[in-house]
Amino acid sequence: MGIYIILTLSLNLEYGYGGQPNFGQALFYGMGAFMTAILTSNLLFVFAHYPSANICTITSLVQRESIAASNPVATLLAWVISGLVSVLVGALIGFAASYPALRVREEWYLAMVLLVAAQIFTIIFSYDASLGCGFDGIAGISNPFAWLTSTSIPILNSSYAFPSIYAGVIALFAYLCYTLTERLTSSPFGRLLKAVRDDWLAASTLGKNVNAIRAQVMVIGSAMASLAGWLYVYYIGVANTADYTSSFTFSIWVMMILGGYANNRGAIIGALVLTLINELTLVGSTLIQAYIPGFNPSVVNYSKYLLESLLLLILLIYRPKGLLKESRIRTPAYTVFKDGGEEQ
């Protein structure tokens, strides 16, 4: 949930404010995830003084899990380092991705380039087992607080404490990302973003370096997406290409459009509504499965995308700008006027 919020905030910063249609959100998210899984697998062995091993074997998986369950120092170090590196790598790829955007003024080329890049990413990581263990993905990434169960601290060592703590950590990061995007967008920088989005040529005749601004917003947005990938891998326990497809990117787009462009609160609402729908379809399918023995569970997945598409269609007809309307860049500049810039 918090992860979807971060991803939607990131896309909304890039597209809602910056006008950069990132159709490769899953790429940055997935890069963060795989970076995290690869680093964590190797770092755990280093910090726990194990001989290095192939990270794809079941043996190494079991060893990883046992380190995570018993060695807090190694686990937390690996967690923090993989997070920092993922964010950095995300930022770098974001910078690289902004490069074609600088060459071609037409924003939709960027969309295509990123869409294709994201596809190539999943194909390479699926078929080249040396990178991310192929279709199986890199499993055995335990919750970073799983070691609490091996301590004697009351309550915290129960089997439900550590998932709750990590859920809290994810919520905290989502909150931080919200604060970050709110600050970024209620500043002169936010004003610049919208100016470049609405008319880049006019913005450049006002002295704005359009290329630099586009690169900056892509760097920030992809760093956030990679951060989400890092959080997700430690939550779900595995980095698998099936989680980073273009249909996933589509879901994030629906969340953003649902919430409303250039409105950070809208992004959160969009993420919440869509997650709720996904949960409902899941619950629905479980119920159906319980009553109809021959029911094929993959129908759920289809029904999910069907629902999303339907929602998008209804939205485009009745509320093309999303649930919340675009918010004005409210810098304190308005306060020098008599009425303080209150909306009528």
Partner: protein, 254 residues
């Protein structure tokens, strides 16, 4: 310091087979109001596009205060002090009048890292807001400061364009038809706004079809016809120039 803010040297630009601008050499004196006139399609806007970096010339050179700036992108030229308005106003119509005005000024908070810390840009923001307030008042726009630029009248859009020029405080302002296209009763108001800008000692290079008003303020006039510079001189000389009359004034002298 040179007394010429702008010099163009044999600027040419073709679109397909059409020579939109053909070997144009001219210069604009510091502190002057210089007019650029000519019939429709004579290449005036194209020349402005080239001077402001929106278009690249096929050949020729552009100098701003003696520095060769040929091929510079628009934002670099803005930083050199060149401001331009568009014939079809290109404002940020999704943003407020105030935001449009503030966008003409560079802020420390334009940098995303600094943007995160209000202390880095707040003071500057309030300063430019005060300045914007004064300028918007001067141009009778303070009532609509928080309206979207798409919610104000055509005349107000013209005024906002000029308010933004004053706010940007450029070395040279290229104004592409600042008066044309508004209803007649607004003409004197916008013309007054132009006078206001001239009072501030700005160098203005103006394309305008309303010659009557223009010649009242212009120190020097350039005339273009079919891409070429066909005449130049004081306004009084231009109105009595036979070739200019034939090319242009004969039909539409105001």
């Amino acid at each position: 310091m040179s007394e010429w803010v702008l010099e163009t040297q044999s600027i040419s630009k073709s679109y397909g087979g059409v020579k939109a601008v053909d070997q144009v050499t001219l210069r604009v004196k510091k502190g002057s109001v210089t007019a650029l006139i000519g019939p429709n399609g004579s290449g005036k806007s194209t020349l402005f596009n080239i001077i402001s970096g929106v278009d690249k010339p096929d050949s020729g050179r552009i100098l701003i205060s003696e520095k060769d700036v040929t091929g510079y992108p628009p934002h670099k030229l803005f930083q050199m002090g060149v401001y331009r308005t568009f014939q079809n106003p290109r404002l940020f119509f999704g943003m407020s009048v105030l935001e449009n005005t503030l966008l003409t000024v560079k802020s420390p908070g334009d940098n995303p890292l600094a943007a995160l810390l209000a202390s880095k840009w707040l003071k500057h923001e309030l300063n430019i807001a005060e300045q914007a307030k004064e300028i918007l008042e001067m141009f009778s726009l303070s009532e609509v400061y928080k309206n979207g630029a798409s919610e104000i009248s055509g005349g107000q859009i013209k005024l906002l364009q000029l308010a933004m020029v004053l706010m940007a405080n450029p070395r040279l302002a290229l104004l592409d038809e600042p008066i044309a296209g508004v209803s007649p009763h607004l003409v004197p108001i916008i013309f007054n706004a132009l006078l206001r800008i001239r009072e501030q000692g700005k160098t203005l290079f103006i394309i305008e079809h309303r010659l009557h008003e223009l010649f009242e303020v212009a120190d020097w006039v350039y005339v273009m016809g079919r891409g070429k510079l066909i005449a130049s001189g004081k306004p009084s000389d231009i109105v009595s120039n036979d070739m200019v009359k034939e090319e242009y004034l004969g039909s539409s002298m105001v």
